[in-house]
């Protein structure tokens, strides 16, 4: 559990996610009726929990927000689907599968949504190159964005 910058984050083990979400939705004292989607994040350096799925919940009754964060290792990228609890997550989970390769177990039709069906790889992972070509302008060459000098 992390409280940071006025926002509350619960880190949940993936096997408990559906139960936690259902409780958050149905308990009148919590009443998080709306899930505003899931956002994937890829942390390649976080060994054993590379893939994160971040859910933003909203309680209209109590006017509160809450964040659930679930992680899965790259070798076993499975997280239970929340479509049963929040039908709104249907497309959001498909998007996260498409971009990060997180398999949402129990999703009714986990197919690619933004990329073409026959696309290889999951483009928003950190090890997936951005691509691009060098651009020549007035004699100087600008390299593609992912090969430019960084200040990390």
């Amino acid at each position: 559990m992390v409280a940071d910058r006025g926002e509350l984050t619960f880190h949940v083990r993936r096997e408990h996610l559906p139960a936690v979400a259902r409780r958050l939705r149905d308990d009148p004292a919590l009443a998080f009726e709306v899930c505003t989607g899931v956002s994937g994040v890829h942390y390649p350096v976080d060994q054993g929990r590379e893939l994160h799925a971040v859910y933003h919940l909203l309680s209209i009754t109590h006017n509160r927000r809450l964040r659930l964060e679930v992680s899965a290792p790259d070798a076993d990228p499975h997280i239970p689907s929340l479509v049963e609890v929040y039908p709104a997550n249907d497309w959001h989970e498909r998007e996260t599968w498409d971009f990060y390769g997180i398999v949402f177990d129990g999703h009714p039709a986990l197919t690619r949504i933004e990329m073409p069906d026959d696309w290889k790889g999951h483009p928003q992972r950190k090890d997936y190159p951005l691509g691009g070509i060098p651009v020549e302008y007035r004699g100087a060459t600008v390299p593609p964005p992912d090969e430019r000098r960084g200040y990390q």
Partner: protein
């Protein structure tokens, strides 16, 4: 016309083939009577007239490159599958390769009909990560609210106009686009661009209002109510419009909540949920305005709610203008006074066009070495944002626009996710259109008012 495996002699324009599901006719612009006649062959189960129709992605009534796969029984839609992704441009991925300030140039292009909202949501999230949310100058916040409400008007007009066009009322479309043009002219005057402004920046806005903007805004406020009246009169005088939108595309509160639908659609289901009121940002709590609500849950109600929201936006804009006059442009800052974050150069019109002001260039080139270093570091490297994550949500023209930003402490975003309301609300289309007539699919899409740039990002 695709080749057929076992051509049906009577089907004229249609080729048919036998598949596991039965006989399938591939139709491409043939005479319908001939298809029906062929389908009526003895022993043929397809007499029930089940049709699978592909609509889009290049279809004028789908509000962009939206593709629908419709299964029809006669004229009734039995199944509807939206297919998206035709406008995916990798905005979120691209933002990971630019500085925090450059990110604005990308996210503004997501939902291209409401660029100001995209920029604001992103900037609010970045500002929360930086911990500077309370230090944004007052004038910058007023300008942000002003721009957002202008954008709400242009976006709603860009939704209502095409709704009329798709139902056959082309005059309404022209009127809607004409009034929208007035907002775009103001955008052009204030930001220099009609869309993709990159005007709202982390820490404030890129520049103050130019001379003459207040007068133009007052002019706009004076003419707009009359123009909106014309638009309303046109719609109200059209019985066909009411017949085709009333009780069409029904989605009640339960459906909205389950599907995470927000914005005018939720407010047409009777819930006065507006983030400007419930979780105010940019000082919205200090403005007087109402939240229009209807409980009809249909396409007509959504049109009414959008029109009423335009009226309320005009109210807010007039309050913004009152706050902006009397102050002296140039003296009140529009960017945070923090040399490590605020963009250093003020723009000014020079002999070769708009660029950094001559005063600023003189200052960094011949007066202050520190200022030069600051300028160089900020412009080439950008500022660093403390590690962590933040989610900022605003009430955009289409509903809750959220921005989830993750930083690893570097000069570039580690991850930016835009929770676009069009993406979420479009999921509700099957719930609204299945079981209805195919003709009602069109007002259903238009009443969601999706923008595919935002859906696909």
């Amino acid at each position: 016309m695709s080749a057929s495996t076992s051509a049906s002699g009577r089907a004229g324009g249609a080729a048919s083939s036998d598949t596991a599901e039965g006989r399938v006719y591939n139709v491409g612009g043939a005479d319908w009577d001939e298809i029906v006649a062929a389908a009526g062959e003895p022993g043929d189960r397809s007499g029930e007239e089940r049709m699978v129709i592909n609509m889009g992605p290049q279809h004028p009534s789908t509000h962009g490159v939206l593709r629908l796969i419709l299964t029809l029984d006669g004229e009734t839609v039995t199944e509807l599958r939206p297919v998206i992704g035709y406008l995916h441009t990798g905005i979120e991925k691209n933002m990971e390769y630019r500085t925090w300030t450059q990110g604005v140039t990308f996210c503004t292009r997501a939902d291209y009909l409401m660029p100001i909202f995209n920029e604001t949501a992103y900037c609010l999230a970045v500002e929360r990560l930086l911990g500077i949310s309370d230090r944004i100058p007052e004038r910058a916040n007023v300008i942000r609210v002003l721009m957002m409400e202008l954008n709400r008007i242009s976006s709603h007009l860009g939704g209502i106009g095409p709704l009329g066009l798709e139902l056959g009322a082309s005059t309404v479309f022209i009127y809607g686009m004409r009034e929208r043009e007035k907002v775009l002219d103001l955008f052009e005057l204030i930001t220099g661009l009609r869309m993709n402004h990159a005007f709202i920046r982390p820490g404030g806005v890129s520049q103050d209002l130019p001379p003459g903007a207040i007068e133009k805004l007052r002019e706009f406020l004076a003419v707009m109510p009359g123009k909106l009246g014309e638009l309303r009169a046109l719609f109200d005088a059209a019985p066909a419009f009411k017949a085709r939108t009333k009780d069409v595309a029904y989605l009640d509160l339960t459906g909205c909540m389950a599907l995470g639908v927000t914005g005018p659609m939720l407010r047409t289901a009777g819930l006065p949920w507006d983030l400007r009121k419930s979780q105010p940002y940019c000082g919205y709590e200090t403005y007087e305005f109402d939240v229009p609500v209807r409980d009809t849950c249909d396409a007509y109600g959504r049109y009414i709610v959008r029109m009423d929201e335009i009226d309320q936006s005009l109210r807010i804009i007039s309050q913004c203008v009152d706050r902006l006059v009397g102050k002296h442009p140039g003296n009140d800052p529009v960017m945070i006074e923090d040399a490590k974050i605020g963009w250093p150069a003020r723009l000014a019109l020079g002999p070769d066009g708009l660029g950094p002001s001559p005063d600023h260039i003189a200052h960094i080139m011949s007066q202050s070495m520190e200022a030069l270093i600051h300028h160089f570091k900020l412009v080439t490297e950008g500022f660093r944002v403390p590690a962590g994550q933040a989610y900022a949500a605003i009430e955009s023209a289409r509903g809750e626009l959220g921005c989830h930003v993750v930083s690893d402490g570097g000069t570039r975003p580690f991850r930016v996710h835009l929770r676009d309301p069009s993406f979420n609300n479009l999921q509700a289309l099957p719930a609204m259109a299945e079981g209805g007539l195919i003709a009602d699919v069109i007002p259903a899409i238009a009443s969601i008012d999706p923008v595919l740039g935002g859906v696909d990002r």
